[in-house]
């Protein structure tokens, strides 16, 4: 109880992940002097935006007991289409961004129909969508990479949503504000609105939820639409952070996001999970991505560690349940 009060509304798992984050930061700072600098912090954040956004969205399907594997290839595909419209068709940047998000929602609806209406296993259905989105972007845009307008150009203002450079050259990662606001909003949605309540209910017992008179199909679908929407937002974030969108990439992004969510305590079998947890979990993954190279490990070690951390995170749950 004392612990509960000390950390306000955070749950045990979230406190634990916070602890891990702190430990990692201390360890990395101790081992690498260059790590404990302001720019590194910014770059961890930079790397985390699109993954966090994906994680916020994919938490909903995960809580319903499903999964959305299409977000990784999806976000690249949406960003490609948005960029294509801006660069090659000359539409205003705002419209391009909307197109990017809109495509995400559209694929979300598609996933939702497959899973909620047609009753396909979510894993397989979204695996198929993953393939489809992988082909879709390049197919629509002629297969070439696209560079969204750069920060310095006139129409590149959208990049400043995430990063603002002051006159004296200091970089302000205002994207984090944007992310925190979204985390709070989605946390509210999950815990205090019908959408969230029914998402948890579906993950807990879909049939019972249906018998309670809830329009299960709609809310089940909505979980995937939310996931798609955030994949679209992640597409914008990715385009804003990195120079060029390359078709054919993106496979594997979803694993960072899903892995982060799971490290943060979202259950792979549904019903359990928090947005804050997912967010913190993603930070762990990103710290590893950015931090491990700093302490002198080759980039590839990061993958091995990510795998091990993921198993460790789940094993904690398994062992706890055994007790």
């Amino acid at each position: 109880m004392v612990k509960k009060r000390a950390f306000g509304k955070l749950k045990g798992r979230e406190v634990m992940v916070l602890g891990i984050i702190a430990a990692m930061i201390i360890l990395f700072s101790f081992l690498s002097p260059t790590f404990r600098t302001y720019p590194t912090l910014v770059s961890v954040l930079d790397n985390s935006y699109y993954i966090t956004l994906m994680a916020l969205g994919v938490t909903f399907p995960l809580i319903t007991g499903g999964v959305d594997l299409s977000i990784g290839t999806g976000l690249v595909s949406y960003a490609l289409i948005g960029g294509y419209l801006i660069v090659h068709q000359g539409v205003p940047v705002g419209v391009g961004i909307l197109a990017c998000i809109g495509m995400g929602v559209l694929i979300g609806v598609f996933n939702g129909v497959l899973v909620a209406v047609m009753d396909l296993p979510p894993f397989l259905a979204t695996l198929c969508t993953c393939m489809i989105t992988r082909g879709l972007g390049p197919a629509l845009c002629g297969g070439f990479g696209v560079s969204w307008p750069s920060a310095l150009s006139e129409s590149g203002a959208f990049r400043k949503i995430f990063k603002f450079t002051t006159a004296n050259g200091t970089v302000v990662p205002i994207g984090i504000i944007f992310i925190v606001v979204l985390v709070l909003i989605m946390s509210f949605v999950l815990n205090h609105t019908r959408v969230g309540r029914y998402t948890i209910a579906i993950g807990s017992n879909k049939e019972a939820t249906r018998l309670a008179g809830v329009n299960v199909k709609f809310y089940h679908m909505l979980a995937y639409i939310i996931s798609g929407l955030f994949a679209g937002l992640a597409g914008v974030a990715y385009a804003a952070t990195y120079a060029t969108i390359y078709p054919g990439s993106g496979a594997g992004f979803e694993l960072d996001a899903i892995g982060g969510a799971i490290v943060g305590g979202v259950s792979a079998s549904g019903g359990v999970g928090s947005i804050i947890g997912a967010f913190l979990g993603v930070i762990v993954i990103c710290l590893m991505k950015v931090g491990l190279p700093f302490i002198g490990l080759q980039a590839n070690w990061q993958q091995i560690f990510t795998g091990l951390v993921l198993i460790a995170a789940v094993l904690i749950d398994v062992v706890k349940k055994k007790k």
Binding site: T34, N47, Y242, T244, P247, A299
Partner: protein, 384 residues
């Protein structure tokens, strides 16, 4: 009942999707034609009867991922237009999809074109396919990437950049800017030169990376400074004439991202740029160069003035790099001539088809910076 359902559904979907593939695919083909081969079409109408026209070539590029290949395709189109031939370009989704590319080559051989232009993703894995092409009597011209040890009689000519020279070119142009700093370096106050290399996979990529390192070592030794190479083990082992890290005055650090994506490349770049003794950094291809630019978005350390920050340089072109040079983040970059390579590839194929003798065409890597970007011999190669 169950099975009936299955039968009907599966059958229907197959038919539908194939129809969609036919129809939708048709649209897409139209699109690509509009983009890539429109001129070729009109040209054919005009000079359809010309004697040396009418050949058809298959071209297989590494992928359509980067705009580099877009430029190559333009070059191919230009040549087609001039010669009144047709060419069909295809490539895998990703430069790493070796397997897909081989299937494409075999598929191209099946079509029995008058020649094949090939930019191989991997030089070793295409050997069997090249043998098949030779057996089928289809001439192959390699462009962008040369293939050593190609089977006898398969590759007629190579139109490729000398990657080692191109890498060295970057080192040569970078060195004068940081020369003073290197001269001032001591064992206790080392200076660090970073190189972010695309994965140490393809031979040409290794050559390029090594070309830079070898040249840089040579230049540093020229001013009596000892060099150590650290980072990716492949390059560390490949480097000659180096000393242990503790004895060196100059350190060349090579970072290789786990995959060639911008996000991973930028992490590698950040790692190097965050170090206080880093004086210069080079990205060895379009993706890694963009990784350096992305990293700078956070660190803001790049400058054209060695006293103010880190000297940056890149490779290939693309909008982000061109802008980085224009606004003083990069001192310059090395471009190959994808456009010319594509053009020369078709020219060569055409000559072979006509029975003329051909020879290898080495292409240069050009150093470009703010001054010469608009020059006539440079500008066409600086694709977006």
């Amino acid at each position: 009942m169950k099975k009936k359902m299955l039968a009907i559904l599966l059958g229907a979907v197959m038919v539908l999707s194939l129809a969609a593939c036919g129809g939708g695919g048709g649209d897409a083909k139209d699109d690509t034609k509009k983009d890539d081969t429109k001129k070729e079409e009109t040209k054919k109408d005009d000079e359809g009867g010309s004697k040396d026209g009418g050949y058809h070539f298959e071209v297989i590029v590494k992928s359509f991922q980067s705009t580099y290949w877009q430029a190559a395709v333009i070059g191919i189109d230009n040549a087609c237009e001039e010669l009144g031939v047709t060419a069909n370009a295809n490539g895998p989704a990703n430069e790493s999809d070796i397997a897909d590319q081989i299937q494409m080559i075999d598929s191209a051989i099946e079509k029995k074109p008058d020649g094949i232009g090939l930019a191989a993703c991997d030089t070793n894995s295409v050997m069997d396919s090249l043998t098949k092409a030779a057996e089928a009597g289809i001439p192959v011209v390699c462009f962008d990437t040369g293939i050593d040890n190609a089977p006898e009689g398969s590759v007629y000519a190579t139109v490729a950049t000398d990657n080692e020279a191109a890498g060295a070119c970057a080192a040569e142009n970078m060195f004068p800017v940081i020369e003073d700093k290197i001269k001032a370096a001591t064992v206790d106050a080392k200076v660090r030169i970073g190189e972010v290399n695309q994965d140490a996979t393809g031979l040409n990529i290794q050559q390029r990376g090594n070309g830079f390192i070898v040249k840089m070592i040579e230049l540093c030794n020229g001013v009596d400074k000892k060099v150590a190479v650290v980072g990716n083990e492949f390059y560390v082992n490949a480097a000659e004439g180096t000393v242990a890290e503790s004895e060196a005055e100059v350190i060349i650090e090579v970072g290789v991202p786990a995959q060639t994506t911008v996000d991973l490349a930028s992490t590698e770049a950040q790692k190097i740029m965050a170090k206080d003794d880093t004086i210069a950094i080079w990205g060895s291809n379009q993706t890694t160069a963009e990784g350096v630019i992305t990293a700078n978005g956070t660190l803001n350390k790049l400058s054209t003035d060695p006293s103010k920050g880190i000297i940056g340089a890149g490779f290939d072109a693309g909008t982000p790099q061109k802008e980085a040079i224009k606004n003083g983040q990069f001192i310059g970059s090395v471009t190959q001539s994808p456009l010319m390579m594509g053009y020369e590839c078709i020219q060569t194929l055409n000559k072979i088809a006509k029975g003329e003798s051909v020879s290898d065409i080495p292409m240069d890597g050009y150093w470009y910076d703010m001054e010469n970007m608009e020059d006539d011999n440079i500008k066409p190669n600086l694709y977006d």
